[in-house]
């Protein structure tokens, strides 16, 4: 299904000139600095917008691990986010757990769900798996509906905690309160909390990808039989990857639940699954930073470009209904122009700039 990687494994000596190192690490450094600096400078509306990019990035990270590195295509990650969101919401409502604890516990639940899906997925391959996961994504809102007695059905479930309001203690939607010692505003505190959680996930996944486990995942993707013959326990690896991937999606969902203080099944269906897949591909699959960049690309369209579209285009055409059309066209163009995603194109550019044979990349990159 995918071509053999075209990059040599990373034991040839990298170019060590300052320029080469700057090119390789510079963008990452700038990106990280921006992540920390921006929320301190931007106003509340913008901080909230960029906070919402983080769950999408984490979900894309999970899908990337499963689809990019391990080759199992899933179009159902929106539903896994949904499992995490509802689990987190219910835990906060019923047991009044602190947000972070609820999110992490929710992801454990999602890990179990992922393993449960990963087992039959051993038998179901390629595009069949893709379509089965797609059916799963469609089934999820219906599942919520069936058990609406505790999920709230289509009306949704508010994430509440007992708070004092107008003289009485009532269940009201949760709010983030920045602690005094941080000196941050509530929205900034929420952003950094999410960022820390996401950063932890990214670091863990990056290390896994670089490790022996990561290489065995890629080996399974590229040639399962060869991997098995070489001693990789394919079944365990695949199921485990599904579990971890689902756990990450669960964290993403938990963040969304806690951000909106409300979960509705309609938010976790096919549309979200497609958005996550698009984020993975646009960013560059099987790369470390790909999911983050892809999530940003998708979100930039939704939160930045879309609202700013002129209402009066060529006279009286309201462009708002056309936004999916514009998004569709952009998707097609970006795939044609940059099939390796953002990261893939960046590496391509680096190769061309350094006028030499392909430099080692962070992980073997399938030519997309």
């Amino acid at each position: 299904m995918s071509a053999p990687s075209n990059a040599a494994p990373s034991n040839t000596a990298p170019s060590n000139t300052v320029a080469a190192r700057a090119l390789r690490w510079g963008p990452l450094a700038v990106f990280l600095i921006l992540l920390i600096v921006l929320p301190l400078q931007l106003d509340k509306v913008w901080v909230n917008k960029i906070t919402l990019w983080i769950p999408l990035a984490v979900a894309a990270l999970g899908l990337n691990l499963l689809t990019g590195y391990n080759g199992q295509i899933s179009i159902g990650h929106g539903a896994l986010c949904g499992f995490g969101a509802y689990a987190t919401a219910l835990m906060i409502n019923e047991w009044e757990l602190p947000f972070l604890v609820a999110i992490l516990l929710g992801s454990v639940f999602c890990f179990a769900v992922g393993v449960a899906i990963g087992l039959p997925a051993l038998r179901i391959k390629g595009l069949y798996l893709a379509l089965v996961t797609l059916s799963f994504a469609t089934l999820f809102p219906q599942l919520i509906e069936q058990f609406s007695s505790f999920t709230g059905g289509t009306t949704g479930l508010a994430v509440t905690s007992p708070q004092e309001f107008r003289g009485a203690i009532r269940d009201r939607e949760i709010k983030f309160q920045a602690p005094e010692w941080s000196g941050l505003a509530d929205d900034q505190w929420r952003y950094f909390l999410f960022l820390a959680l996401a950063a932890g996930c990214f670091v863990i996944v990056a290390n896994v990808a670089r490790s022996r486990v990561g290489r065995s995942l890629v080996a399974i993707r590229d040639n399962e039989v060869a991997a098995e013959v070489s001693g990789v326990n394919v079944a365990t690896a695949k199921v485990f990857t599904f579990g971890i991937s689902a756990a990450l999606a669960g964290i993403s969902g938990g963040m969304i639940a806690v951000y909106n203080a409300r979960v509705t099944s309609g938010s976790f269906g096919l549309a979200l699954s497609l958005a996550i897949l698009v984020a993975v591909v646009l960013g560059g699959s099987a790369t470390t930073m790909g999911p983050a960049l892809g999530a940003i690309s998708v979100s930039v369209f939704e939160t930045v470009i879309k609202p700013e579209l002129p209402k009066d285009f060529l006279g009286s055409i309201d462009l708002q209904p056309a936004t999916p059309l514009i998004l569709g066209v952009l998707l097609i163009i970006s795939v044609l122009v940059a099939p390796g995603g953002t990261v893939g194109s960046w590496h391509h550019l680096l190769e061309r700039l350094s006028h030499r044979s392909p430099s080692p990349t962070e992980a073997p990159n399938p030519s997309e």
Binding site: S135, L139, P321
Partner: protein
Amino acid sequence: MSEFFQFMFIGLGNGAVYAMIGLGLVIIYRATGIINFAQGEMAMFATFFVWTLTEVGLPLPVALLGGMLGGAIVGTLVHQFVVRPVGNPHEKPLAVVIVTIGLFLGFNALAQLIWGTEGKVVKPLFGNGEFNIAGVPIDHQKVGALAVLALEAALFYLLFKKTKIGLAMRAVASNSESSGLCGVPVNRILMIGWALAGAIGAVAGTFMAPISALDANLMQGPLIFAFAAITLGGFDSFVGAVVGGLAIGVLTDVVPKYVTFVDKMPLAPAFVAILIVLLVRPEGLFGTKKVARV
């Protein structure tokens, strides 16, 4: 008991539509190896052509033929200008999926822009009458849908098995490079595949629209069922699409009526059926087993 048969036929009627879209999906898969996410939206678009022609005064059957032609043209254009430039789907499966997702979004929004958001009326091709068989009322339209489905499946089967074009398609699907070297006009064959899929979409939509209303969302639900149909039946089998579609239709409309556990989850019985089938036969009921050199 009569109620049970009524549910069956409602399921068969809906299933016929899923199967028709499934046939379009199978054609493209057999010709190009791609799953076309935009199949439903292309069908919806072609159905709007049909509606526009009825608004101009043409009788529905003629409008349908016109819509099929329009659908074929749209399919051809999509292949030439969008799908072909991406490259070989076997090498870049994810890229192709994203492109068809882009088409899915694009066609939906374009239809809304051109024809607005209000539902349009499309009359049933076979009218509003019903047969009464042993006390069970069965719509003419549903029987007609099944007949048309059978006709389409038979035509496609004959095309692929008995004609030169069909042979060329099978060659291209099997190994496009070698086929090209043997003189098969690969691109033209692929175009024909997409054109056929576009045309059959118009038929599917013309049967779907009277069930609810013709608007941009006509095929959002049915597309999912069509995917389920070909997953059940096998991506590369016309018989599979037909059997799968009808089975999905029946499972969805009949089972939730009698099993309260899934009464709010119409897709669940179909999903379970697919899982069971795939675990036993990973290539679907009628799909061909892939044999690859390791």
